[in-house]
């Protein structure tokens, strides 16, 4: 708050700001649009890729469409016995893991930032270390662990791993927001004799809705695209996920590149959709939070 007060002391001439602002605005806009184009290209490229056959993939420029669009790539991929199965597996594993991660991470972040206990910075440190282990170091130990728990070839092993590995980053993302959250509301609630659970579920959780959606989206992306754990812990085909389906297409002797593109398109559609639907909630969440606050 000290800095905020300082800022109020700065005053500048408003008229000169206006002209400079307009030019700046134009430049800014151009940059934003250019950047958006660069970020959007891969999707366009992928779409075009998925509509070509193998020869056209290599012979045509990336952003040219073939004379005949090969929609049958999608057909051949989808009719592959397992793609729809993989798809459903991906959906439910991702959903369960995301919900579990967000909830557990919110609990922990709340306890660390809002409650008073001695070991909190130590416990936070414990979680942060979780960010630092390379995934390939964990494969043999984790497989051993799940084998002992009889969880190999079970999707529970995936949900547990995804939740555990995403907890640190989710907690980190939540943390900054929890610190920035004004404490006045809680303090008032405490005065009124509210319980910890009530403060958490009815006051804090709604106030962090925006960051929860942000963290949720990030979690979703990670879980959806993960394949090393799936390949390592799962052996039955009917339990595997969509990324494995993609992997299977990109093999050593691949000739059907169009199908690779179609699989990739199919695999990003749900996440794209979820993202576009959910990301509006970031703004709405803020509005809701401020009303209650």
């Amino acid at each position: 708050m000290i800095t905020a007060n300082k800022a109020l002391n700065y005053r500048t001439d408003r008229t000169s700001r206006k002209i400079g602002g307009r030019i700046g605005y134009g430049i800014l806009y151009t940059v934003l649009v250019l950047a958006a184009a660069v970020q959007l290209l891969p999707l366009v490229w992928l779409l075009f890729f998925s509509l070509k056959n193998s020869q056209e993939v290599f012979n045509l420029p990336p952003f040219a469409l073939p004379s005949k669009l090969h929609w049958e790539n999608y057909e051949s991929v989808w009719s592959q016995s397992n793609i729809s199965r993989y798809f459903m597996n991906s959906v439910w594993i991702t959903l369960v893991s995301v919900v579990l991660t967000i909830l557990l991470a919110s609990f922990v972040t709340f306890a660390i930032t809002r409650m008073r206990w001695k070991l909190r910075s130590f416990v936070l440190g414990l979680f942060m270390v979780g960010l630092m282990i390379p995934v390939h170091s964990t494969l043999i130990p984790l497989f051993n662990l799940f084998q002992k728990l009889h969880l190999t070839d079970s999707q529970v092993s995936l949900i547990l791993s995804y939740t555990a590995f995403n907890l640190p980053i989710t907690i980190m993302i939540l943390l900054g927001f929890y610190y920035a959250l004004p404490k006045e509301v809680e303090e008032a609630a405490l005065m009124d004799g509210c319980s910890v659970n009530r403060i958490f579920f009815q006051i804090v959780l709604p106030m962090t809705a925006s960051v929860i959606v942000t963290a949720g989206i990030i979690n979703m992306i990670y879980n959806w695209n993960e394949f090393i754990f799936v390949n390592t812990f799962i052996s039955s085909d009917h339990l595997k996920t969509l990324t494995v389906g993609v992997q299977n297409f990109v093999g050593q002797y691949t000739t059907n590149w169009g199908a690779v593109g179609a699989t990739l398109m199919i695999s990003i559609m749900p996440i794209l959709l979820a993202f576009f639907l959910l990301s509006n909630r970031i703004v709405e969440g803020i509005a809701a939070g401020s009303v209650k606050g």
């Binding site: 905020a4 800022a7 109020l8 002391n9 700065y10 005053r11 500048t12 800014l28 950047a35 958006a36 660069v38 970020q39 891969p42 490229w45 992928l46 890729f49 420029p61 990336p62 557990l104 991470a105 609990f107 660390i112 409650m115 008073r116 416990v123 942060m128 270390v129 979780g130 960010l131 630092m132 282990i133 390379p134 390939h136 170091s137 043999i140 130990p141 984790l142 547990l160 555990a164 907890l167 640190p168 980053i169 993302i173 943390l175 900054g176 920035a180 405490l190 910890v196 925006s210 942000t214 990030i218 992306i221 990324t243 992997q247 990109v250 990739l264 990003i268 794209l272 990301s279 401020s290």
Partner: protein, 293 residues
């Protein structure tokens, strides 16, 4: 009031489930990695205890140190680029038309799996038919670079897609953070005649200081253990010119059947991450912010 917020049972209820999960799924592998690092082990036959021999070898291993250099360089670069992402998020969080759409578009690369991104960038960097070299040739360059084959440019060529891939992630986080700033503070400053730039630098950025610290840690740690695109696009080549710590570890443990040595690298990577995080915390620590590490 203090009593309610320091209720041991509630704290336990909130923290212990998550703690147990990461102890089993993250700490067990960390401990075992440390243990394997002391062994001569191909991952298959019996282990032999060799004490710190692996680490002694590690200290002498030129290839390892060059991979450390590459990883560190990348970590610094990622941290520096956060400034750009923050600027973009600031602009988007302001009253700019289409901000919502831009924000969504910027995140698209992150939605794609590394397999798809790698395929795209391989096409861009292709030495004879790639978009980039086509463009350079049309601008009159004669000797267009062999982006992924030339040891002197390969590392830079790899950083671009990785930075590009994660741009949306940080923009999203900063955006949510800026949106979370209570509007009353900004309004008060504006009424007092502070310019947008002043408001941004003196009010908004300091207010999200905790989020910034978190993102620096995430960017640095994430870069230090980065693996995906490097593995798909160059596999650390040519001749180790783009090898990073995680890919080197993978090559030693899984390709070279030297799991003991690979584990030592993994453990070392963890230590470097810890030191880096500690350093960042020290550097960014300020008096008025809450210390939590």
């Amino acid at each position: 009031m203090d009593k309610v917020m320091s209720d041991k049972r509630m704290i336990a209820l909130y923290v212990i489930p998550s703690l147990l999960l990461i102890l089993a799924i993250i700490y067990l592998p960390i401990v075992l990695t440390g243990y394997y690092g002391l062994m001569e082990w191909d991952g298959i036959s019996k282990m032999t205890f060799i004490g710190l021999d692996n680490y002694a070898t590690l200290l002498q291993d030129e290839k390892f140190w060059s991979s450390v250099n590459h990883s560190l360089l990348f970590a610094v670069l990622s941290a520096v680029f956060l400034i750009v992402y923050m600027a973009v998020a600031l602009v988007l969080a302001g009253r700019i038309r289409g901000a919502n759409l831009f924000r969504k578009i910027y995140l698209i690369p992150m939605l794609l799996s590394s397999v798809a991104i790698a395929q795209l960038w391989l096409k861009i960097y292709h030495p004879t038919t790639g978009i980039l070299n086509d463009l350079l040739a049309s601008l009159g360059f004669k000797n267009t670079p062999e982006w992924l084959a030339d040891p002197s440019v390969v590392l830079g060529a790899l950083f671009v897609p990785i930075l590009w891939q994660y741009a949306g992630f940080y923009i999203l986080i900063y955006y949510a953070a800026f949106k979370n700033i209570p509007g009353s503070l900004v309004e008060a400053a504006r009424i007092d005649g502070a310019s947008s730039l002043q408001i941004a630098l003196r009010i908004k950025v300091p207010l999200i200081a905790e989020v910034i610290k978190v993102t620096i840690v995430l960017a640095v740690v994430g870069s230090l253990k980065y693996f995906d695109l490097i593995y798909v696009m160059t596999d650390g080549g040519p001749n180790g010119a783009s090898e990073v710590m995680a890919s080197y570890m993978y090559h030693k443990a899984f390709r070279g059947f030297d799991f003991g040595y690979g584990s030592a690298i993994g453990f070392f990577l963890l230590l470097i991450c810890l030191v880096a995080t500690w350093g960042i915390r020290k550097l960014t620590a300020t008096k008025d912010s809450i210390q939590y590490s």
